[in-house]
């Protein structure tokens, strides 16, 4: 099922920007999940997860960050700052948060979600962080370099672009057959007569200004006021079990798993990756679903 798309207008000082939001609705929803993608992707990447969440009774709200998918491209690196992303998320939540929603962030999207929760007074029912780096790591530089190359690549056909993407990230090839065309349209677009990844290379370049800087958000986790699950792929470099064990022991609302199967970085396309997320969100909704 195709999502409906809505536009959210955001004001940054004197500037106005437009965000695209993909919404997979379901009748008589039991809850709502706001899903935030990582760098070099867009909300369309959640189609398989959204369909699964729909079947479990959840509505999925999946915005495209600025410079990604069908949201506005700024075409200059200076516009893409973490402050802009966090404020974009504030606008999304003003529009779609009901006070009982769940939230999910992947990679960079998880980092922005964490920063937002440090700032906002909202308290979601639960949050899921997928493969979210909580401290600086050399793997971030390698990932950034790879994304930069992908952002600059141009192709003569969608098929060629897809082959290039799947060679670099095989896990992204596991698209359910009925969603093949949707993912193609979400991942690629025509720019100046050639096919490119559907994100602004300047957004990726801007991310580089944060690389090499020390950061450590692990110490901020006790400030999370809701149930939180951090999940990492089996080969993810971003999970530190020793530190997580310590944080989780002192904060029973926080849990982590470093055993997500299905490849790294997680593509959220396969049952092995979708099932634990659905299970966690469904458990977090148990009290909502119960009759009052």
């Amino acid at each position: 099922m195709k999502p409906r798309q809505e536009a959210v207008t955001i004001r940054f000082g004197p500037l106005v920007r437009r965000l695209n939001v993909r919404i997979w609705s379901v009748p008589n929803e039991r809850g709502r999940v706001i899903c935030l993608h990582g760098m070099g992707a867009n909300g369309g990447e959640f189609a398989a997860l959204a369909e699964r969440l729909n079947r479990a009774g959840f509505e999925a709200i999946c915005p495209d960050w600025l410079g990604h998918g069908d949201s506005q491209f700024l075409w200059q690196a200076g516009g893409y700052r973490w402050e802009t992303y966090v404020s974009s998320l504030a606008a999304i939540c003003r529009q779609y948060a009901t006070g009982a929603e769940h939230m999910l962030g992947v990679s960079w999207g998880g980092m922005m979600l964490l920063l937002y929760l440090m700032y906002a007074r909202m308290r979601p029912r639960s949050v899921v962080f997928v493969d979210t780096p909580l401290a600086d790591h050399e793997a971030l530089t390698r990932h950034h370099q790879s994304l930069l190359e992908q952002a600059e690549a141009r192709f003569d056909s969608v098929e060629a672009a897809e082959a290039y993407l799947f060679e670099r990230r095989p896990a992204l090839a596991c698209v359910p057959p009925h969603l093949t065309e949707y993912y193609r349209n979400a991942r690629f677009y025509r720019q100046a007569g050639r096919i490119a990844m559907k994100y602004d290379g300047k957004a990726i370049a801007a991310m580089g200004s944060y690389l090499g800087k020390k950061f450590d958000y692990l110490g901020a986790l006790p400030r999370l006021q809701c149930n939180a699950l951090f999940i990492y792929g089996e080969s993810s470099p971003y999970c530190n079990p020793v530190l997580f064990d310590s944080v989780c022991a002192e904060n029973p609302n926080i849990a982590y798993s470093d055993a997500l199967a299905g490849g790294h970085p997680p593509a959220l396309l396969e049952d092995a990756q979708l099932a634990p997320i659905e299970a966690f969100l469904s458990a977090g909704s148990a009290t909502l679903a119960a009759p009052s």
């Binding site: 000082g13 700052r81 402050e83 802009t84 966090v86 440090m118 950061f215």
Partner: protein, 88 residues
């Protein structure tokens, strides 16, 4: 609140967050025309968010992280909060 009250509040919060040493605070409060760019303080992301949260608590105005980019100094942010829009 006036722009100068907002300014004093911002300075007080930055001191509380450990981002301004005593001398700098004294100078800023004694000389209202003196300004300080946030980038000069080199706040990390969590401290910047704490500034937003504490400013909202103290003033009742919504202060978003992007406001710190649009109005990137103490005086500009104070002017913006006072309704002057801040100078870009």
């Amino acid at each position: 609140m006036s722009a100068s009250s907002y300014r004093e509040t911002i300075v007080a919060i930055l001191v509380e967050l450990g981002e301004l040493e005593g001398t700098k605070q004294t100078n800023l409060l004694a000389e209202p025309e003196q300004d300080l760019e946030f980038v000069a303080i080199a706040m990390d992301s969590l401290t910047a968010l704490d500034l937003c949260v504490n400013l909202e608590d103290a003033t009742g105005r919504i202060v978003e992280p992007a406001d710190l980019v649009a109005y990137p100094s103490i005086n500009r942010l104070a002017s913006y909060l006072d309704g002057g829009g801040g100078a870009h």
